[in-house]
């Protein structure tokens, strides 16, 4: 009986404590790492190699935040999540931020208690088929079985697109990326649909990439970006501006190799925290942007290292080039 009373009292206290919320930044600094939700493996965006090291453009955003807040880009605890699990994990506080090729939509931004901190990859939904089918346009897909991953905006886009174009299809839904891909490989479906970046990533992983064709139609806008919980504006600013720091660094032309060079460009000095006091506004040390560029690199470095034209995934910058170079990537100024 005594035991029971003790236990009950203890649980009451625990339940009471759950209501109290500290700031995410002080939480992160206290525990010494950033918990970052990533995919269960999407080459080039977030995937772990055989030694358990995570790489990818989404991973680099997590690392940039760790470099900014803890001064060490390796202090990230990666939490692999399925598309279905990701929002609940963030809402419940299991992770500090989500960087998992997640599409920014008004519903997600306004009704889930979450905030999108920016866009780190402008994507769009596409289709991939086996070349042997002889299909050259998505408009020829009437009657096809289409493999798709559960819990994504892709499911909604596909239904809208099918309705708008009068195309009838069967959707074959799976829980994980891996099962979706294995369904497509086995022939359970004729078509695989997801964000075009994902299609290129999967095609690169196929035994013979030339057996698969990515169709030219892009049926949606999919701005992918990092997400944080609503209600902690300081943390929101840190994540948003860590990403912006990478983009601005590319604009100015600072790379991880040239970051230590002192120049007389005032904008560059401001970004590197050698003048001005922007770091105080976000509650970090003055070298926070320096650490991001030093340890993670600028946006272009991250892009070319993980998904660029010289990697097996081979994606051209396209719309993801800087605004000054024909793309739409644009960071508000650091001042």
């Amino acid at each position: 009986m005594k035991q029971l009373l003790k236990l009950t009292a203890a649980s009451l206290l625990v339940v009471g404590a759950l209501g109290v919320q500290a700031s995410t930044l002080s939480d992160v600094q206290a525990k010494g790492h950033v918990s970052c939700g990533v995919s269960k493996g999407l080459a080039g965006f977030s995937s772990a190699d055989s030694s358990g090291t995570w790489t990818g453009v989404d991973v680099d955003v997590c690392r940039a935040v760790a470099a900014a807040t803890l001064g060490d880009a390796t202090k990230v605890k990666f939490v692999p999540l399925t598309a279905k699990e990701r929002f609940t994990a963030l809402q419940s506080g299991e992770i500090d931020m989500l960087s998992r090729n997640t599409t920014w939509t008004i519903t997600r931004d306004a009704s889930l208690g979450l905030n999108f901190a920016g866009v780190n990859y402008y994507d769009g939904q596409g289709f991939m088929v086996k070349s042997s089918l002889g299909v050259s346009s998505a408009m020829e897909l009437g009657g096809a079985a289409i493999c798709i991953q559960a819990g994504t905006t892709t499911e909604l886009n596909l239904a809208d697109w099918g309705k708008a174009n009068g195309i009838d299809y069967n959707s074959v839904v799976s829980d994980t990326n891996a099962q979706t891909l294995s369904n497509y490989d086995a022939g359970r479906c004729d078509v695989l649909t997801t964000d075009a970046s994902g299609l290129y990533s999967m095609r690169a992983g196929a035994n013979d990439p030339s057996e698969h064709v990515v169709l030219p139609e892009i049926i949606s806008k999919e701005p992918l970006g990092p997400v944080v919980r609503q209600g902690d504006d300081q943390w929101f600013n840190i994540v948003r501006w860590s990403l912006n720091a990478m983009i601005t660094a590319e604009e100015i032309g600072v790379t991880s190799a040239t970051v230590d060079m002192v120049s007389n460009n005032p904008e560059r000095e401001r970004l590197m925290g050698r003048s001005g006091s922007t770091h105080e506004y976000v509650g970090l040390t003055s070298d926070w942007t320096y650490q991001i560029v030093k340890q993670v690199g600028n946006y272009s470095e991250s892009f070319e290292r993980n998904i660029g034209i010289n990697t097996p995934i081979g994606i051209a910058r396209g719309v993801n080039a800087l605004w000054s170079q024909g793309g739409i990537l644009y960071s508000p100024p650091f001042r």
């Binding site: 929002f87 997600r108 096809a144 559960a150 596909l158 239904a159 839904v173 099962q179 086995a186 022939g187």
Partner: protein
């Protein structure tokens, strides 16, 4: 309790207000601690739920059930659920809930029937005098019982989609039914005017067969002369509707599947997700049911079998008339548990994308809406109600089968 307090008050009349009596009274102490525990448990839940809502509100997550009326906007793998509730992406989230519910019920229903049949067969075979049969049954049980069900579901599903041919090389059965990696395609019956009479004839046939059986059973009890009833049953249940069907002029058309550009079109497609899931669940659950049946049979006294043999019953008759009715009494309670397990395990289907409750409503809708608490509570309630219903039904059967007081 009232009496207890009155008692102690009565005593206190003589000796003044005496709490010592209450303190050392076992019943009073037990009551006191029960009240404390109750208050603590209720308090704990109250605090927890209060906290939950406070946190949800603080984080700006939507609450309430209004999302159920919103447009769903996504497609669901076409199977029975879509047909029964007429689902399109324009339907509401509540409709998705019904689609998932129907698909869950279908798996549970067919899985329970299949696993019972397989379990009964294997349970009896396990005790066979034939060495090969009993060892095979034993091997079956040990193999399927000891592999996690999730693994089995994934195995059968991936086997199915990899082993069977592409739709263009479907295995055809007289151009009526087709089997390929995308499922089993059966002809889809399309009833026309007048088919109602055939259905009516079928129902009348079943009722008539029941009375015929009752009549001959009564005759058996009165005169002792036994008559086989199966020719009558067959005639009434199958023959009668067929005659009606032919008389009205075959009011039933079939829609056969034909090869389209990518897939077979038309017909009635039984998707591989369903086949693999039902098969895996039945085969797995059957091992436990077989063991329950075996324990039931072994619990029947040996003398019963010997007595049956002594009065000249054949082994089949002895099994059917003497052993099984007694064995089932022992076997039913553990079998109920297995039915419940099967129903609950059906939620594992989300890994292969069978559109049951947890993969449609608890999966896609949850992800689009983000209201985990409401959605999961609804799903939990459904499983609870299904499970309670099954155990209610089988407890009734159990009661019927129990030994009547003699």
């Amino acid at each position: 309790m009232k009496k207890l307090i009155l008692d102690s008050l009565g005593k206190s009349k003589h000796r003044g207000l005496n709490f010592r009596d209450l303190l050392y009274n076992n019943e009073a102490r037990a009551f006191f601690f029960q009240v404390i525990t109750f208050v603590l448990v209720v308090g704990l839940f109250y605090t927890a739920i209060g906290n939950l809502f406070e946190n949800i509100e603080e984080r700006g997550i939507n609450t309430g059930f209004s999302f159920l009326n919103n447009r769903a906007g996504f497609d669901i793998l076409p199977f029975l659920g879509n047909i029964v509730v007429d689902y399109t992406p324009e339907s509401s989230n509540l409709t998705v809930f019904y689609v998932g519910l129907v698909n869950t019920l279908v798996v549970a229903f067919i899985g329970i029937i299949l696993s019972t049949l397989i379990g009964l067969l294997i349970g009896i075979a396990r005790l066979s005098n034939n060495y090969l049969i009993s060892k095979l049954a034993g091997g079956y049980i040990e193999l399927f019982r000891n592999i996690p069900i999730l693994l089995q579901i994934l195995f059968w599903y991936n086997l199915f989609i990899n082993v069977f041919p592409h739709p263009k090389q479907s295995l055809a059965f007289f151009d009526i039914a087709f089997l390929n990696q995308r499922g089993l395609y059966l002809p889809k019956p399309i009833p026309e005017d007048g088919f109602l009479f055939v259905a009516l004839a079928f129902i009348i046939g079943i009722i008539a067969a029941y009375f015929v059986k009752k009549f001959f059973k009564r005759k058996h009890e009165l005169t002792g002369s036994h008559t086989s009833t199966w020719p009558y049953t067959l005639g009434l249940v199958v023959g009668f509707p067929v005659i009606v069907y032919l008389l009205i002029g075959s009011p039933l058309q079939f829609d056969y599947a034909v090869l389209g550009k990518f897939n077979l079109k038309g017909g009635m497609a039984v998707v591989p997700e369903f086949l693999a899931l039902t098969f895996a669940l039945s085969v797995y659950t059957a091992t436990y049911i077989a063991e329950a049946i075996r324990s039931g049979i072994e619990a029947v006294d040996k003398g019963q079998k010997e007595a049956a043999a002594a009065i000249g019953l054949s082994p089949i008759q002895s099994l059917k008339l003497i052993v099984l009715p007694q064995a089932l009494r022992v076997a039913i309670p553990p079998t109920i548990n297995q039915y419940l397990n099967l129903t609950k395990n059906s939620s594992l289907a989300t890994v292969i994308g069978y559109p049951e409750l947890m993969s449609t409503f608890g999966g896609t809708v949850l992800n689009q809406v983000g209201q985990a608490v409401e959605i999961l509570a609804m799903a939990m309630l459904v499983y609870l109600v299904i499970s309670l219903f099954i155990s209610l039904l089988l407890n009734y059967v159990n009661k019927k089968m129990e030994i009547q007081g003699r």
